[in-house]
Symmetry: C2
Subunit: 242 residues, 2 copies
């Protein structure tokens, strides 16, 4: 099992796709170079193109004799600078990170400024309208708990159910940066980006905080705000519960 | 006169070079596209390849009828996302930013961590040794004032004199980030990067803070520490004094 950090800027997302530069594909090629094994890599989160991770988790089978805790460092020598293995460890042969119970934390970063700072363009979404972060935080609290998040899910989803549980969410201003941090036991396709796009509508005054209840109960994607762009999104951490 | 911010990652530095992708060359091409003029661009600081700027200053002549204060916004439509004009204004026809008296502030950012964070690799220099920032700050104070900075200047300099004045310098820790901020009336080639490389030697205990006096008085590049790499360096601001 690998804990993986990456800058998603130059990748077509996590998931392996033949003929595309993907994070999983790049890690698979590095494992092959290191061990000679052709592995399948199971990822905890299939992040989209342009989305970043400080910690995604990947699991694979290998017959390599490299000690499990040294595998990550060895693999880093075969990886480009924008993908870094943070740690590696052995897990039970039948362990599946997709089936494990996990809590994930995502952070969405907004640059609330007139100035399109070129040094932050790859890791933030610039919003020129002045945003009221207290309203955004208040609105976000309506999302905490178990809800049907169908309104906050891309229509392209293949999920069997749109019921999910958010364990905590906050919107905090740090100077020109606004960070929306969301934790939960599972997320639908584009869910954090739609939540962020909707909270931005609240922050600029086009929705009221209490409108979030109604948006949830409509169970219709068109009730929520736009999908915020990918580069502002970071998978910050994953906690394995069981 | 333009105030220009840029991510230097993909550029061979500020200064125009035939056949190379440079910041000045890119701005010159954008001005040509906007106005039809073939201009010469005078920059306040000829930043090296990979060095960033939140504010460099560039001056050129144009017969364009675009109002001076709107020129920057118009030019941004012709520039890539990694170069942004922050403001534009008219200056006297004989104004030279190289000859003007200015105070420049540079920031050198160190990521003091075991983890080679892929999201910060383009804007920081990773140092794995634990650094004592109080020692670095103490050492830095020996550099304040007028000194012969020959020890802190690349041997490739074409400067007539190596006498310079630093008006202020600090080393501050913000979590895993250490920021060295230096202000002065002028800087020699690679001066901030050599100062940063030397302060890192102090921070990890290979030099004592009071050794800086001796390094200054030797007037020999080999007395100082290594040149820290370019991506940690940012030209933060330029104040025009006269």
């Amino acid at each position: 099992m690998l804990r993986v950090a990456y800058d998603g800027t130059l990748y077509h997302g996590w998931a392996f796709q033949e003929g595309q530069k993907t994070v999983a594909g790049t890690v698979i090629a590095a494992i092959s170079e290191l061990t000679g094994d052709e592995v399948e890599l199971e990822g905890a989160s299939r992040t989209d193109a342009g989305v970043h991770a400080l910690m995604n988790i990947a699991v694979f089978d290998t017959a390599s004799s490299i000690p499990p805790d040294k595998f990550g460092a060895a693999l880093n020598t075969k990886l480009p600078e924008d993908i870094v293995i943070r740690s590696s460890e052995e897990v039970a042969p039948d362990f599946s990170i997709r089936k494990a119970q996990t809590e994930k934390t995502y952070v969405y970063s907004i640059l609330n400024s007139d100035f399109a700072d070129p040094l932050r363009r790859l890791y933030t979404y610039q919003v020129r309208y002045s945003l009221d972060v207290d309203r955004m935080h208040e609105a976000a609290q309506y999302l905490v708990g178990k809800h049907d998040f169908k309104s906050f899910c891309s229509v392209h989803t293949q999920a069997l159910t749109t019921l999910r549980e958010i364990t905590g969410i906050s919107a905090v201003r740090e100077g020109e940066l606004i960070k929306i941090r969301v934790s939960g036991y599972g997320f639908l396709y584009n869910m954090v980006r739609i939540i962020s796009g909707t909270l931005i509508e609240v922050g600029r005054g086009r929705l009221e905080p209490e409108d979030i209840s109604g948006i949830l109960s409509e169970c219709d994607r068109s009730a929520a705000g736009p999908t915020a762009p990918p580069q502002g999104l970071l998978l910050e951490k994953i906690r394995i519960i069981a």
